[in-house]
């Protein structure tokens, strides 16, 4: 790699990271009522419990933090899985990891487990995500064709969706059955700071596990044997990526539902910008995902729809045609 390319990459990361941060900051100014955000922030910093300060700190701040961190998780996990499976269609939503996480979280929440022990909610999501990821790896592991991967994902998605539905049906609470849309489509409406505190630490651990695999992922593009001869332990790499993405995605889904397609679209758009190197794609996709999700979340708040559109609806409306285009291109390329 030439120093020039390194410099360009640093520039890209800086630009994406700055844009994501700026949009998240700007999202604090967008909501359903108008108030002076600066006064509210001064009140909050001075410990004054004014209504504006409450709205800023308890409602808009958690929404911005979760939007950015969940977007980061989805972009990063998409890039990591695409690198690991060496398949451009791997995305936590498409291959069923998010679906598994949703079932895990639903099981923890509606049984009342998370009411007794708050951490059970993200941990349930993580457990579901790990089970899905393992099932996927068993069905369509290393180097499997795109068709196998997608079919495995369809099967896992259907199965976890059915289990989620079953768990909601079994709940004696009359509202539960109507909440499937939240779990399958995702939303950031009225999230709270305690939810940030529950999910963010797990996400950060997952991020570190994935980001630290960058060099190994680059080596993997040379083939498994070459990567191993270069001294990378592939078993360890797989575990780190599966566990890392499951931790981050599981915790995300547990507080915001399964938001699809961010992990598919963002790495794709950024791949040409990082010289098609999967290791470099990781951090760039993370920032790109954060940027994309916060913008989408701004979108659902600005659109004059009542009740608010689910965030996953917007990402799927953009992402699903994108997936179709990819499939179409793949068909054309392989005769």
């Amino acid at each position: 790699m030439t120093p020039g390319a390194d410099k360009a990459h640093a520039g890209l990361l800086l630009a994406l990271g700055f844009a994501a941060f700026a949009v998240a900051l700007a999202s604090l100014f967008v909501g359903y009522v108008h108030f002076d955000v600066f006064t509210a922030a001064r009140d909050a910093l001075a410990g004054r419990d004014s209504i504006e300060a409450l709205a800023l700190v308890q409602l808009r701040l958690p929404r911005a933090i979760l939007g950015a961190s969940i977007g980061f998780t989805l972009g990063l996990s998409g890039a990591a899985m695409q690198g690991l499976l060496r398949n451009p269609l791997a995305d936590p939503g498409v291959i069923g990891v998010s679906g598994g996480a949703a079932f895990g979280a639903v099981a923890a929440f509606y049984t009342g487990l998370s009411a007794a022990f708050a951490l059970a909610l993200p941990l349930g999501g993580v457990a579901g995500a790990i089970l899905s990821a393992l099932a996927l790896y068993g069905l369509a592991g290393r180097g499997a064709g795109t068709t196998t991967l997608i079919l495995a994902g369809v099967a896992i998605n259907s199965f976890t969706g059915a289990l989620t539905s079953l768990a909601l049906n079994l709940s004696p609470n009359p509202y539960a059955v109507f909440e499937i849309m939240f779990w399958l489509m995702g939303s950031l409406a009225d999230r709270s700071l305690p939810q940030v505190a529950l999910a963010l630490p797990l996400m950060v651990v997952g991020w570190i596990a994935m980001l630290s695999s960058a060099r190994a992922l680059d080596a993997l593009t040379l083939g498994e044997d070459t990567a191993e001869s270069l001294g990378f332990d592939l078993r360890r790499l797989r575990w780190k990526l599966v566990a890392g993405s499951a931790l981050a995605v599981g915790a995300s889904v547990a507080v915001a539902g399964a938001i699809g397609f961010v992990g598919l679209v963002v790495p794709h758009l950024l791949r040409p910008w990082v010289g098609h190197r999967p290791g470099r794609l990781l951090l760039a996709s993370g920032f790109g995902g954060a940027l994309a999700l916060v913008v989408a979340d701004l979108g659902v708040r600005v659109l004059p729809l009542q009740p608010e559109l689910k965030l996953g609806v917007l990402t799927a409306l953009v992402g699903a045609p994108f997936l179709l285009a990819l499939v179409f291109r793949a068909r054309r390329d392989e005769p």
Partner: protein
């Protein structure tokens, strides 16, 4: 059941009975099919849509299908005849209720031995006002099949009973009475009377309405006094706007519904942000439905609701008091008045 089968063979008594309880000449002549809260049509349609199998079960029903072309007046005349001749005979003895709100009315107004089944919702003390009385009744899940298993002489359904269920009941020839949720106090009174008439207990209906009105007047605060600014937060972030029954109750409790200023419909979602911004005196939140968790009720546990309690009075009100509008509305008003008494005194002093 046996003597009633004979009665069922006569032309539908329901249109006449659905009118206010004291039969007057005007009521009998004025019977129409456009009663809003009750569907007097239903039993009549049973006659025309009845299958042959039902006809065999109940040969007397044959006469009814011929009634279809006959003028309304004739039906009304017969209905009045029955009403005046022997109102006691009109009393159904195997009531099956497929709706939580008709459950409550049946449990309040009918003789317990005449209720064959209520829904499972009626037995949950967290959701239903008459759970104690419902406890020893067989429970149903609101399906037509279950209803028929009790061989009902009257099936009570609500606005939320699926159309397929209602169609099925009509097809198999069960007499059906539908009660929609009332939207004003006047409609609540009328519904109690209609219901009492349909189950052959008009006097009890009158007594219940009188009791409710007396208690409500006693619980209400002076309408000329100061009004406290109020907003309601229901599960899933819904609030209740003007033109609703709840709005009327708030007025009775000396509360002004701020939803009116927000240009909000009768039942609409409101973001927590807007609620925080309202600068209300009182926030009425549903108290948690007992038992299983749901995201719908989790919004009521958002930390901002607790934080807002420093700025406004947060009143937790059991949703069951106004889920099915009836005499329990009095308790809702009482609890609201009690929870805001000091605020009202403060406002008065100012």
């Amino acid at each position: 059941m046996s003597d009633l089968t004979g009665l069922m063979a006569t032309p539908s008594p329901w249109p006449g009975l659905s009118r206010p309880s004291t039969p007057s000449r005007q009521n009998c002549v004025g019977v129409t099919d456009n009663d809003v809260s009750l569907q007097p049509e239903a039993p009549v349609q049973n006659g025309s849509e009845r299958s042959r199998a039902d006809g065999r079960d109940n040969p007397g029903h044959h006469d009814r299908s011929k009634l279809r072309p006959v003028k309304l007046l004739y039906r009304a005349f017969l209905a009045c005849l029955i009403l005046f001749a022997s109102p006691a005979l009109a009393k159904p003895t195997r009531l099956v209720s497929l709706n939580q709100c008709t459950d409550e009315l049946a449990l309040r107004l009918a003789d317990p031995e005449n209720i064959a089944s209520v829904t499972w919702l009626a037995q949950d003390a967290g959701n239903a006002n008459m759970a104690l009385a419902a406890r020893d009744k067989p429970a149903n899940q609101g399906t037509a099949e279950e209803a028929m298993a009790y061989r009902p002489d009257l099936v009570l359904v609500g606005a939320f009973t699926p159309p397929t269920t209602r169609a099925m009941l009509k097809q198999i020839g069960a007499p059906v009475a539908e009660f929609d949720p009332p939207e004003t106090l006047a409609q609540v009174r009328q519904q109690i009377r209609d219901f009492a008439a349909v189950i052959g207990e008009p006097a009890r209906g009158e007594a219940l309405v009188a009791e409710m009105d007396r208690d409500l007047d006693a619980a209400s605060v002076d309408p000329r006094g100061p009004k406290l600014k109020t907003i309601i937060l229901r599960p899933n972030g819904y609030t209740i706007g003007p033109g609703s029954l709840v709005d009327e109750l708030l007025a009775r409790a000396g509360l002004e519904n701020m939803a009116a200023r927000l240009d909000i419909g009768t039942y609409e979602q409101i973001s927590l942000e807007r609620i925080a911004d309202l600068d209300a005196d009182v926030l009425i939140a549903n108290s948690e439905i007992a038992g299983a968790p749901s995201l719908a009720t989790e919004g009521l546990n958002h930390p901002i609701v607790a934080a807002l309690s420093h700025h406004m009075r947060v009143v937790a009100l059991p949703a069951r008091l106004w889920t099915c509008p009836g005499p329990a509305l009095v308790d809702a008003v009482k609890q609201l008045v009690a929870a805001t008494r000091d605020l009202r005194a403060l406002a008065q002093a100012r």
